[in-house]
């Protein structure tokens, strides 16, 4: 039946195309992945099947209709076929995207349906605190698939609801005022204990001349009273002030900007568990125009009880199980989520944000586990960027020196050091080669420390993440791509255990010691910018489970297309 509907719909739209010209457009993507894996452990494992093969082909077919120049209707379907399933078996159909958007009146833009939305880093913002390094080579192919599958586009969250925005232009005074408003549905009521939960808010930003703007944001998660069989409704209210002042001269650009605000989180029947706090975050940066250097100094103070569901939700909740080699060894122990899974398993990623604090892995990111809006952090960070005008080299360096504001289980406070650096080197530009060659290197370092005379309170945890990637064009459009990815963490940490309201009820002390590395290499043929075929092999080794280290060997063929 579904196939029939799809064929009829395609025929219908083809007719419309013939009749209406550019009013209907097709867009979407196609992808096919074929993989063969070999899983090995040091311990004799007679239960886990080591070798697996798998793959799928999928197509996302979108039809964009413009019934008039001010309206756009988009519907996108997905057909997914797992390899090995033909003639209807293992074929799934789904709707990937539906929206209507347009312009009403003199300039009120509106959108209904699926909306990719962000507001500001402390209100509604999809940060990525787990893949802390930029991706190159094979890792960039994997991250591209994850981002596409999870609808991650420049820090937006996929929401369902309605959004509007418009600008009032006061050209006479060189001013303009931007308005934004949104209302999304986070979850429906189940007519029982679960409330209808909505997310609404907006922003007003006044822009004066070209160099000054000030505005206010409001983001509010709220349960709708009367949609469930109790009165304990949840609220998370976040209000912020944003500001930016810039000055431009012949030699340099200077900018002072920031965001400050407060949050109030509570359940109406449990007033004692009310969380109320504020944050302040401002930055000053200067760009030396002629040399390509940029310097930035920032200060942040995020209160211990500051909560913002739209900004503190993680993409990955570590309180879930892998879908790939979930258990191993003869005792069938659970395999924890590793960096390999973060790069390879889109099913681990959340598509919508959560009002609960998600679990995090301190080895991967203990400093800002919930992104820049992480609560209970105070300190400064510094950035230095350099970009060569001839595109021979570019660097981005950032160092955070942060600390806790309030202790956890003790009055002693954690202190954090966090460094991220990335260098992109382009030999083609240096040696004037026609073919593209790039070498990229990135390093992440985190250190957590809590001094105490009591052994149970003392914490010391160090993590290194390292990624080197190459992309060398060996024939026209044919690239050799390769990566060395390494991750190492040692030390101890005491993680909080929270109840359903987020209150800490206990602590779990853990010792962390292990490393993971992944070597990969292969070929990539680019048919065009958004269409490529890649074949690569990778070797991954993980020793974070000290008694049960394991390794993968994997061969993958990936075809990717966007149109």
């Amino acid at each position: 039946m579904k196939i029939r509907i799809l064929i009829l719909f395609t025929l219908f739209t083809s007719l419309v195309i013939a009749q209406e010209g550019k009013k209907v457009q097709f867009l979407g993507g196609a992808r096919s992945v074929l993989s063969a894996s070999d899983f090995l452990t040091d311990e004799k494992d007679t239960v886990t099947v080591g070798k697996t093969t798998g793959g799928y082909a999928l197509i996302d077919l979108g039809i964009k209709i413009n019934p008039n120049p001010r309206t756009e209707i988009l519907g996108m379907f997905r057909i997914n076929n797992s390899f090995g399933g033909f003639w209807g078996s293992d074929v799934t159909f789904g709707v990937r995207q539906l929206h209507v958007k347009g312009i009403a009146g003199k300039g009120i833009r509106y959108q209904l349906g699926n909306i990719d939305y962000k507001l500001s880093p402390y209100t509604c913002y999809n940060s990525n605190p787990d893949l802390i390094l930029p991706s190159f080579g094979t890792t960039s192919i994997k991250e591209q698939i994850i981002n596409y599958e999870s609808f991650y586009k420049s820090n937006t969250w996929r929401q369902q609801g309605a959004a509007v925005d418009f600008i009032l232009d006061f050209s006479k005074y060189q001013d303009e005022v931007k308005f934004k408003g949104f209302l999304f549905r986070l979850n429906p009521s189940n007519q029982g204990a679960l409330f209808e939960r909505l997310y609404g808010g907006g922003s007003i930003v006044l822009k004066h001349h070209k160099n000054f703007q000030i505005g206010a944001n409001l983001a509010n998660v709220f349960d709708v009273r009367g949609t469930a069989l109790n009165n304990d409704v949840y609220r998370n209210q976040v209000a912020t002030l944003i500001y930016q002042y810039s000055h431009e001269s012949e030699k340099l650009n200077t900018e002072l900007s920031g965001e400050s605000g407060f949050s109030n989180t509570f359940s109406t029947e449990q007033i004692n568990s009310n969380l109320k706090d504020y944050f302040i975050h401002f930055k000053w940066n200067t760009t030396l125009k002629k040399t390509g250097w940029m310097f930035e100094v920032s200060y942040m103070d995020n209160g211990a009880e500051f909560r913002s569901a739209g900004a503190q939700s993680k993409r990955i909740d570590y309180n879930q199980q892998n879908s790939y080699y979930q258990r191993y060894t003869n005792n069938q122990i659970l395999r924890p989520i590793s960096y390999y899974d973060l790069y390879n398993d889109p099913s681990l990623y959340a598509m919508e944000f959560s009002t609960k604090l998600m679990d995090f892995n301190p080895a991967i990111n203990n400093v800002l586990p919930y992104g820049i809006a992480t609560f209970n952090r105070r300190g400064a960070y510094f950035s230095v960027n350099y970009s060569d005008k001839k595109e021979r080299i570019s660097t981005q360096l950032k160092y955070y020196r942060l600390g806790e504001i309030r202790g956890q289980g003790t009055l002693a406070l954690r202190k954090f050091d966090y460094f991220i650096g990335a260098i992109n080197f382009n030999p083609s530009a240096v040696f004037h080669w026609k073919k593209s060659q790039t070498v990229s290197l990135a390093l992440g370092y985190q250190h957590t420390n809590r001094d105490s005379q009591f052994a149970q309170e003392a914490i010391g945890l160090e993590s290194y993440t390292f990624n080197v990637g190459v992309s060398c064009e060996i024939l026209d459009k044919l690239y050799f791509i390769g990566n060395t990815f390494m991750f190492k963490s040692t030390g101890n940490e005491t993680l909080p255990i929270r109840d359903s309201k987020g209150t800490i009820i206990n602590f779990q002390a853990s010792t962390i010691s292990g490393n993971e590395y992944c070597l990969s290499g292969g070929l990539k043929f680019e048919f065009s910018k958004d269409v490529y075929l890649s074949i690569f092999y990778e070797h991954n080794k993980n020793s974070f489970m000290a008694l049960n280290p394991y390794q993968f060997n994997q061969f993958q063929v990936v075809y990717f297309m966007k149109f």
Binding site: A304, N376, G409, I505
Partner: protein
């Protein structure tokens, strides 16, 4: 502009002067968590006896020297029913350890003396107290069948003439609620159907079951037994709606919704489903409803219960008890 900028910088630094929180902390004290465990207040019930039938409840108190993960088991000394409550904390109070007479492991509690046993993870201590249940919990809802009064003459049934057939109401201590339950067993090697019972609304003196019209607020509940080493039983419930109110069900023009239960567990298990989550099926596969396609529990005129098994799988056995509709929430027995 300069004034605005000055004001902004002033405001930033004003707000930045956060009062120190050096004397505050989140969570329990780590020093306490790492200290030696001891019981400060032993386990005690808030009352010696409780009447759950009048919505009374009982709670338990205990206090430890540090936060611990604990498990409270309340065990019926006659029935063997078990209620489990778990938590993490240094205290048990009415917030953490309140009991409304409900059951975790069947059978349900009776009028009996119950032993409450508190164990703490990683510690040897076991704290014990007792509480007497004067009257067990009474569940509100419409009881379709609890099999306490035998076979209702308004029901109809059909049982195949297979081997080792035992399709009848029994009464013994294995019953999860009361003493009666429906036993369903036998070998039928030519058909999936082993036996069925039709529960008709007329058996209760009505044309339709006395249920609300809101399918989202109505739950169908049944206790189902899974036999050890036999995983071939299926129980299919069919819900026939009399849409035109003529007192008859027409399969071609009126809705019949279904819920099929694959029994793959051992012992008694509560199955609950929201009426609006029932599905329309044809030959075991989802299909379009034959009637108006609207869930109308207030028009439900008959429930069919079919015990099924693959004819190739041999002997099949299951049991049923306490078929009940509840309002707003699933049954909490």
């Amino acid at each position: 502009m300069e004034r605005i900028l000055q004001f902004l910088i002033f405001a930033i630094f004003l707000v930045g002067c956060r009062k120190d929180e050096l004397k505050k902390m989140d969570g329990p004290l780590l020093a306490d968590l790492n200290s030696k465990f001891s019981v400060i207040t032993s386990l005690k019930a808030s009352k010696d006896s409780v009447n759950f039938s009048t919505n009374e409840s009982v709670y338990f108190n205990a206090e430890f020297s540090k936060v611990a993960t604990w498990k409270l088991e309340i065990i019926g000394q006659t029935s063997g029913a078990v209620k489990e409550i778990t938590g993490t904390g240094s205290k048990l109070t009415s917030n953490e350890a309140s009991w409304d007479g409900s059951t975790t492991i069947f059978p349900v509690f009776r009028s009996e003396i119950c032993k409450a046993r508190l164990t703490i993870e990683g510690e040897d201590d076991t704290l014990i107290t007792t509480v007497k249940v004067n009257q067990p919990k009474v569940n509100s809802g419409f009881v379709v069948a609890d099999f306490e009064a035998g076979f209702n003459s308004g029901w109809s049934s059909f049982v195949q003439a297979g081997a080792k057939m035992d399709f009848q109401i029994k009464s013994d201590i294995t019953s999860p609620q009361g003493s009666g339950y429906l036993n369903m067993a036998g070998t039928v090697d030519w058909d999936w159907l082993i036996g069925l019972i039709n529960f008709k609304a007329t058996a209760y003196g009505n044309k339709t079951f006395p249920l609300s019209s809101n399918p989202s607020n109505l739950f169908f509940n049944v206790l189902v037994w899974g036999e050890e080493s036999l995983v071939n039983s299926l129980v299919l419930f069919q819900f026939q709606e009399d849409e035109n109110g003529d007192g008859n069900f027409s399969a071609n023009s009126e809705d019949m919704y279904s819920h099929q239960i694959t029994i793959n567990w051992v012992g008694w298990k509560l199955i609950s489903i929201r009426y609006s989550d029932l599905v329309s099926m044809a030959n075991g596969a989802p299909a379009a409803a034959s009637g108006n396609g609207v869930f109308e529990p207030n028009k439900l005129m008959q429930i069919n219960m079919l015990h099924l098994a693959n004819p190739k799988s041999g002997y099949a056995k299951s049991k049923l008890d306490y078929i009940i509709f509840t309002q707003n929430n699933p049954l909490k027995p």
